[in-house]
Structures are given as structure tokens and as C-alpha cells.
């Protein structure tokens, strides 16, 4: 039977969508029965999302123009 330790060990891969179908099913089976792991999972997902949206700078227009010239040459 799947326990919390097993589940926590796979949370990185779960939030990164790196588990196979059957593995995802297994983890979710545990998550469905374990509130603590579920909250931990949502928290980790939230953190990953936060990291993704935090740095959303766009390249300066001048750089874009320079590169367009460079790539045309």
C-alpha cells in the first residue's frame, strides 16, 4: 500500500508532470485518501506556479531590433 513517504517522494515529479499514467493514478489514489498530502501537493503546485509567473520580463525593443538586423544579414 502506498504511504505518505512514497507519495511525498513523488510530488516533484507529479507537479512537473513527469509520472507515467499508472504512476499518476497510484499517487492520486493516495491523495484522494490523505488530506495532508493533498494540501502539500497543492502547495507545491502553487509554489511552482509562483516561480513561473514571478520573472516575466520582456526583452527590450532595442535588443529585438538589433537581433532582427543581425538575423537578416
Amino acid at each position: 500500500m502506498y504511504d505518505c513517504e512514497n507519495c511525498v517522494r513523488r510530488l516533484d515529479q507529479l507537479v512537473d508532470k513527469e509520472l507515467s499514467g499508472p504512476e499518476v493514478e497510484e499517487v492520486h489514489l493516495h491523495l484522494g485518501a490523505c488530506g495532508d498530502c493533498t494540501r502539500r501537493y497543492r502547495f507545491q503546485e502553487g509554489l511552482k506556479r509562483l516561480i513561473r509567473v514571478s520573472g516575466s520580463e520582456r526583452a527590450p525593443d532595442a535588443l529585438r531590433e538589433r537581433l532582427r538586423e543581425q538575423l537578416k544579414a
Binding site: 513527469e18 516561480i51 513561473r52
Partner: protein, 191 residues
């Protein structure tokens, strides 16, 4: 042959399409807007020079990141490459530290109170080996296998570095959250 090569105009168009992502990546790697622009420009120059080695239909974003990453290490970290070591801070889960502060509310509520600039700072404070893997997997959404190719390490190394990087990030964010009063430190405060 013809279907393996990309027309130059198409190549340029597709390459430019990844500019924002590359620039963001360069900012995180160099932590300096001028250096970031230089790095990006040199990345495109090299990409242009080696465009014959790019196969149409493969992952151009990954290809460009691999070029940029190599340039970055050659230029800024060459002297340090051997010296960069990864400290093991042990297991640290922000969730455990904050569990008492989270109470019954949604577990992500506390994350909403963390300033985005603080997250960027925490990423930039990571050592370069950790920073680049967070950049590739969390920010750019590369699969482990693509990150492994870009970094030229086994997938297991990607996973272990990523795990440690996240632990370090969580530790830094927790320190910030305590300092700024977002959380009280919890009952199980850090030793």
C-alpha cells in the same frame, strides 16, 4: 535533405519568437541587464553561425537554451566551474514550516502574499547549478529529458538538483515570510 533544413527566413522568425524566454533566462543567469543583453546577442550570433546543425521540427527553444547555457558557463563561470559545489541543506519543506500558519484556509493563500520580486531574488540567490535547473524546468517548463540534454547531465541529476534547489528556495522564502511578518514562524520554528 530539403525537409531537414529550415529556410533562413523561417529560422530567423522562429528564433526571434524565443527572444523573451531567452532574455528572461539570461537575466536570471547573469543577474545583470547589460550582461543579459550581451549574452542573448551572442547566443543568436552563434545560433546563426550553426543554423545548419539545427534540424527543423526539433525543439528550437531547447537548442537555443543549450547554446546560451554553454556561452554563459564559458564566459562567466569558467573559473568557477570546478569550484561550484552544491551544499546539502537537508530536507526543508516550506509547507511543514508554515502548516500552523496555514490554518484551515486554502494552502496556497500564503503564497499569494509573497512578493514576486522576492521570488526572483530567491531564484537569483541560488547557486548557478541550481538556478539553471529551476530556470529550465519551473520557469520555462522544459521536460526533465530536455533539461538533461541542455545541461548535459543524466535525468537523475536534473531531479536531484531540482529537488535541492526547491528546498533552498523554500528556505529563503520562509526566512523572508517570517521577516516580513507573513507568517509567525509556526510552532515548529526552525532550529
Amino acid at each position: 535533405m530539403a525537409d531537414q533544413q529550415t529556410e533562413p527566413a523561417e529560422f530567423s522568425e522562429e528564433a526571434i519568437g524565443h527572444l523573451d524566454a531567452l532574455y528572461r533566462g539570461a537575466l536570471r543567469l547573469t543577474r545583470d541587464p547589460d550582461r543579459a543583453q550581451d549574452l542573448v546577442q551572442d547566443t543568436y550570433a552563434r545560433a546563426l553561425r550553426y543554423q545548419h546543425s539545427y534540424q527543423a521540427g526539433t525543439n528550437m527553444k531547447a537548442w537555443l537554451f543549450a547554446i546560451m547555457r554553454n556561452l554563459y558557463w564559458d564566459r562567466f563561470q569558467k573559473a568557477n566551474r570546478e569550484a561550484v559545489s552544491i551544499d546539502d541543506i537537508g530536507e526543508f519543506a516550506l509547507y511543514d514550516q508554515m502548516r500552523d500558519d496555514l490554518g484551515e484556509g486554502p494552502e496556497t493563500e500564503v503564497l499569494d502574499r509573497i512578493a514576486r520580486s522576492e521570488v526572483v531574488d530567491a531564484v537569483e540567490k541560488l547557486n548557478p547549478l541550481h538556478r539553471e535547473v529551476v530556470l529550465l524546468v519551473d520557469v520555462e517548463g522544459f521536460a526533465y529529458k530536455d533539461a538533461a540534454k541542455i545541461l548535459e547531465v543524466p535525468i537523475g541529476t536534473v531531479m536531484s538538483r531540482l529537488h535541492r534547489a526547491r528546498q533552498q528556495l523554500q528556505k529563503d522564502l520562509f526566512d523572508y515570510a517570517v521577516e516580513s511578518g507573513i507568517v509567525g514562524g509556526g510552532l515548529n520554528s526552525r532550529s
